[in-house]
């Protein structure tokens, strides 16, 4: 069972990579993969520079840059994985053939997520390196706590994947406009987790909502691992009040809960979709 699953995972990864990348030469695809994230980061940088007259040595700038770079994983895995269902079912109308060709859509979707993870990691790395080289983002190899950073990144990837799987399940039941739900969720998380600004500037009710979201703690853990434990004292006193141990407990507990919930929701929705004959529905205009 596990060997068969891994084989499907590998096939899903390879197919996903081909679908995402084979329309262009590798060089063009690399450029394509980094232009969008670099443009979005540059836009935030320019917005920042216009107001602050060029000061980049501030906590807000460092936090904004890092948060935006790592948030790409939420978009790619949380939203991208679920959109794979819409692509396969509506655009290419191949979902039914995946069922005929492999025994388990779940592993195929995980494989597609793997391809998106690789592309996102390259893009995030390029954005972060550009920040260090050209914008004085204070990521110094000697001071970054690499173990904590990698563990936080892993937790974020697992949480995003859990969310993506749950949404992929929902997409199996939804019509073409299901994509808007994923987009809406990604947009809400970007706002309420304080990805590019301190949570403290939000209204009180929105702060409480943000504090209930595990992704808020994920971004905080990344910032502490990258810039030091006392970083948030100057950036976001609200989050600085959360002790390290509590932060990690919430983060790791949420990662475990979200991936389990994601798998359960996906399996449940998949069963319903097969029972109702929705696997090969086409709802595009």
């Amino acid at each position: 069972m596990a060997v068969s699953g891994l084989r499907h995972l590998r096939t899903g990864f390879w197919l996903g990579w081909q679908m995402d990348a084979n329309w262009a030469s590798p060089g063009w695809f690399f450029a394509y993969s980094i232009v969008r994230p670099l443009a979005m980061s540059s836009m935030l940088v320019v917005m920042y520079l216009v107001v602050t007259a060029g000061r980049t040595h501030t906590e807000t700038f460092s936090a904004m840059y890092l948060g935006n770079a790592f948030y790409m994983y939420v978009g790619a895995l949380g939203m991208g994985v679920s959109m794979a269902v819409i692509e396969e079912r509506e655009w290419f109308q191949m979902l039914k053939y995946i069922y005929l060709g492999t025994s388990d859509l779940f592993w195929y979707i995980l494989g597609r997520a793997g391809a998106k993870f690789v592309a996102t990691t390259i893009a995030a790395a390029v954005v972060l390196v550009a920040g260090v080289l050209f914008l004085h983002v204070p990521l110094h190899a000697g001071t970054v706590r690499w173990g904590a950073l990698l563990l936080a990144l892993l937790a974020g990837v697992v949480m995003s994947l859990g969310m993506g799987l749950a949404l992929a399940g929902v997409m199996l039941l939804a019509a073409r406009h299901g994509g808007a739900w994923a987009e809406g969720l990604a947009g809400a998380l970007y706002l309420f987790t304080g990805t590019v600004f301190p949570l403290d500037v939000l209204p009180r009710w929105a702060q409480s909502f943000g504090l209930a979201l595990p992704f808020t703690y994920w971004l905080e853990a990344l910032r502490r691992a990258a810039y030091g434990s006392d970083f948030s004292v100057r950036f976001s006193p609200l989050l600085a009040a959360v002790p390290d141990a509590e932060l990690w407990a919430v983060l790791l507990g949420s990662a475990a809960a979200l991936i389990l919930a994601g798998v359960a929701v996906f399996r449940f929705c998949e069963r319903i979709a097969r029972e109702r004959g929705l696997i090969d529905q086409v709802t595009e205009h």
Binding site: R36, V46, V51, G187, T195, F197
Partner: protein, 275 residues
């Protein structure tokens, strides 16, 4: 017998109305989309408004963000419902029907543009109204009527550009989809959707002026929120440039459509799906 010019114009105007009608009806029929299409841009705008607030930016910057967010509706519509529309039509087997019909292809493009403007306007107006209420942004100050004129001029030039792109991408497959995907976010940066475009430097802003939204947004910012020290040109100059762009893009669309149609027919790619 050859039909008169008037009969020909009437015939094509009816075709354009028919193509626009589909979009108007689909906008009103899919009301469940409207909350998403209004709330999503407001959420994106909110993140940028709070970033500016965290930086103690002047209050007019919230207005810049809101204006830019409203205009994203038109940019997304031009990209996904104009530029790639012939690609979608090909995927769904509709493109050949347009070519069989005894009408000008420009009438189809014009109908797509008019319907698209209606479609995007429902979203843009909702975004502006909700955002202005949430973030207390006054939109009636300055010269609202001149701003409205600039807005309409921007739309004509922008949808002219969309018609050019639709013609160019007609014979492409997934490359068109991916290229349009690539154009989406970098233009938010280059056209200064959320900040005064001159902050990018005059040379970059000048190059970005080929996208009508760059000039339109810069002029509307000045007209609605008062003199902006980082303005590119005066609103009058920008309106004149927009008028020139509108004429140039409509002419280019006609030339590109004819050339690409011939090329696509020669290479047999008008009905090729999933390539």
């Amino acid at each position: 017998m050859k039909p008169s010019l008037l009969a020909l114009l009437w015939h094509n105007a009816r075709a354009a109305r028919a193509r626009a009608y589909v979009r108007v009806v689909s906008t009103l029929r899919e009301l469940s989309w409207l909350p998403f299409e209004v709330v999503l841009p407001v959420m994106a705008a909110a993140a940028y408004v709070y970033l500016y607030r965290a930086l103690d930016a002047p209050p007019r910057y919230a207005g810049f963000v809101l204006l830019g967010s409203a205009m994203t509706a038109y940019w997304l519509n031009v990209l996904w419902s104009m530029a790639t529309q012939f690609y979608w039509e090909k995927q769904e087997g509709q493109l050949e029907l347009f070519f069989l019909a005894p009408i000008s292809r420009m009438a189809i493009l014009a109908g797509m543009a008019l319907g698209g403007m209606f479609m995007a306007s429902t979203r843009a107006i909702g975004t502006l109204a909700l955002g202005a209420w949430l973030f207390h942004v006054p939109l009636g100050g300055g010269h609202p009527w001149l701003a409205l004129g600039t807005f309409l001029l921007t739309l004509v030039a922008l949808y002219g550009l969309g018609m050019v792109l639709a013609s160019v991408f007609m014979m492409y497959g997934r490359d068109a989809f991916n290229l349009v995907n690539l154009l989406q976010d970098p233009i938010y940066l280059a056209s200064g959707f959320y900040f005064p475009v001159r902050a990018l430097g005059r040379a970059v802003a000048f190059a970005a002026a080929a996208i009508p939204l760059t000039l339109g947004l810069d002029a509307m910012r000045q007209l609605l929120f008062g003199g902006e020290p980082l303005a590119l040109w005066t609103p009058g100059v920008e309106m004149a440039a927009l008028a020139l762009l509108a004429v140039a893009y409509l002419f280019l669309a006609y030339v590109a459509l004819t050339a690409m149609e011939n090329l696509a027919k020669r290479e047999g790619r008008l009905t090729v799906k999933w390539q």
